[in-house]
Amino acid sequence: MQSLDTGMGPETGRAGRKLRVVIAKPGLDGHDRGAKVIARALRDAGMEVIYTGLRQTPERIVSAALQEDADVIGLSILSGAHNHVAPRLMELLRAQGLDDVLVVIGGIIPDADVPALKQLGVKGVFQPGTSMQEIVDFINANVRTVV
């Protein structure tokens, strides 16, 4: 099986350890094919992946990120709830002092909604057709590596 090209060695991120990524499904949506494929791709690319499972609230996701010392939070949202979930999540991250966590969202996000998400601080929005490699590259390029 071909492994994904990380661009960097597996030792990266803060203090030279593997990047830690929390993949979460917020809200009621149960369609997890994308989340699971991406989670596996990131793991194959040398990242430590924690998949929270389904039906997460923004509170639980932030709590997981805190507990897991996450560098990245990846949300998978296909249900249209992103305009509710993203602001809540970003607010909670700020309140917890987790501003430097890289937040990315994948799923069904209309073009019209992307600018507002970016304004909130969501760095990457991955719409249908995005490849696993693109996401790996984006994370590696945008994660804060400052300790």
């Binding site: 071909q2 997890d32 791709a41 057709g129």
Partner: protein, 534 residues
């Protein structure tokens, strides 16, 4: 053997990774005896079709899945679809409804009306079918965990329209097993969920005899990434599991099996799909006689709805999707589908606009009335290739049946994570194949080009606001004590082995909400939590 020119690939495989030969000859079907294995359509085991006259007798039902926003919004869309030539209705509910949550639950925020129509109580159901005569049309409702509740709401609406339940026809999807496997819209654990389903079987046999109590589904399993074989095998094995549980609950197989129906995906690999439908009919007929000794021919005949593959449609160059959908729909028709939904070109972007939904409907009408393929039954039957493919899928499915039987059945297999792992593995392999460009997706990994942005249906929070104010109003108007009593009865009944439908009907009539009724059941049965694995 003649030398052949170099080919475009070393091996050719279906989208499910099944290798295919260059050409098929009588040698390839030596093990198939046409007299024994390929009787005419309408004859057991129905490989060639369950009706002797096929579409000459009756065309498939054009049943377009629709729902968004408020019941008023969706009611208008249903009227438009019926006016445009839809011959049956199909309801898409929003996630709060699907998950048995009222719209003011914290998990419902941002979700109301986005993926389907919000139905909180009987009042919403009445609005949804306002001026739509339930005695004259059939409705399929894609609802699973709260299916018995939504079914009860439909029954009460019909009753209030003066339609007798003995003539009422339609379908509730009511297939919880595929939720654990693929769609993940479960609420309760497997055992109580199976109990509700067998309660619906038992109730409907006498009370609503023309109702399809279940639509055992492979569509979602396929969308989650399975191969065609896995879709076929897991769906049918789910069906056999339901029959077993029904029989174990004391029901006579021929009393409920005739009203089981199925729902398959119509995916991109044209011939593989046609073979899959034929294999499904054959497998079901033989399993129903061999495993359960079913004697009524209606128990043997697999009837199915199909939907073209949403997952195959792209956000890039969306007009390409019209072509994909047309080809997929054609394969479903050549496979003998009894009912069909065609996706809209904006599937990967949003819920369909009216224009996109209409074009999808026209796609079916063009196939039905202009292509000529409906003038013969099972036109591809006898093709060496197709018969080989059909037989191989049957053999593969039987191997999966044996494997799942050895695990203790489908509920046990699900608890062990088996079908879920199979699906996830296939999904990952497919994505890798696409990214390595072993599999082309036009407009995505080849023939890439920018396109004009499309106008899409945008659902904002106004639907949630309108529904919230209706809910406030309902809570003020209804008899609170009566609601509380019906919920007590519901809880009490859930603790016994008595059929739940009467208690559900009473709670529905009192205008208890979907969330209230599901919470009552959550108190008794708990909630299912999947072990999250990648």
């Amino acid at each position: 053997m003649k030398a052949v020119a170099p080919e475009r690939r070393v091996t050719f495989k279906t989208i499910s990774d099944t290798p295919v030969a260059r050409v098929y000859t009588p040698e390839d079907v030596r093990d198939i005896d046409p007299a024994r294995d390929l009787p005419p359509p309408g004859d057991f085991p129905y490989t060639r079709g369950i009706h002797a006259s096929g579409y000459r007798g009756k065309l498939w039902t054009i049943r377009q899945f629709a729902g968004f926003g408020t019941p008023e919004d969706t009611n208008a869309r249903y009227k438009a679809l019926l006016a445009a030539g839809s011959t049956g209705l199909s309801v898409a509910f929003d996630l709060p409804t699907l998950m048995g949550r009222d719209l003011d639950h914290e998990l419902s925020l941002g979700e109301v009306g986005k993926c389907g129509v919000n139905v909180t109580s009987l009042a919403d159901m009445e609005t949804l079918f306002d001026e739509i005569p339930l005695g004259e049309i059939t409705t399929s409702m894609t609802i699973n965990a709260p299916a018995a509740i939504i079914f009860a709401m439909y029954l009460v609406v019909a009753e209030r329209q003066g339609v007798s339940w003995s003539t009422l026809s339609g379908t509730t999807q009511n297939d919880i097993l595929k939720e654990y496997i693929a769609q993940k819209e479960y609420i309760f654990p497997p055992r109580p969920s199976m109990r509700v389903i067998t309660d619906v079987f038992a109730f409907s046999t006498d009370a609503v005899p023309r109702w399809n109590t279940i639509s055992v589904s492979g569509y979602h399993i396929r969308e989650a990434g399975s191969t065609a074989l896995q879709e076929l095998a897991f769906t049918l094995r789910d069906g056999l599991e339901y029959v077993q549980w029904g029989v174990d609950a004391g029901l006579d197989v021929d009393a409920f099996a005739p009203r089981m129906s199925f729902f398959f995906n119509a995916h991109s690999d044209f011939f593989e799909e046609i073979a899959k439908y034929r294999a499904a009919r054959h497998l079901w007929a033989t399993a129903m006689t061999d495993r359960f000794g079913a004697r009524d021919a209606r128990s043997w005949k697999l009837r199915f709805h199909s939907q073209t593959a949403g997952v195959s449609l792209t956000a890039q160059q969306p007009y390409n999707n019209v072509v994909r959908t047309a080809l997929q729909a054609l394969s479903a028709v050549l496979g003998g589908t009894n009912s069909l939904h065609t996706n809209s070109l904006d599937e990967a972007l949003a819920l369909p606009t009216e224009a996109a939904a209409t074009l999808a409907l026209r796609t079916q009408q063009i196939i039905a009335h202009e292509s000529g393929v409906t003038d013969f039954v099972d036109p591809l039957g006898g093709s060496y290739f197709l018969e080989r493919l059909t037989r191989d899928l049957e053999d593969g499915a039987i191997r999966y049946f044996d494997q799942i039987d050895d695990m203790g059945g489908m509920v046990a297999a699900i608890e062990q994570g088996f079908p879920q792992r199979e699906v996830a593995e296939s999904a990952y392999r497919f994505q890798q194949a696409v990214e390595r460009r072993e599999r082309t997706i036009v407009g995505v990994n080849d023939f890439v080009e920018d396109h004009e942005p499309l106008e899409i249906l945008y659902i904002d929070e106004s639907a949630a606001e309108r529904q919230a104010s209706k809910l406030d109003d309902l809570r003020r108007r209804r008899d609170t004590d009566l609601v509380a009593r019906t919920l007590d009865t519901l809880r009490a009944t859930a603790r016994t082995r008595d059929n739940l439908m009467p208690a559900i009907l009473e709670a529905v009539r009192a205008y208890a909400t979907v969330g209230e009724m599901c919470d009552a059941l959550r108190e008794v049965w708990g909630e299912y939590e999947e072990v999250a694995t990648i």
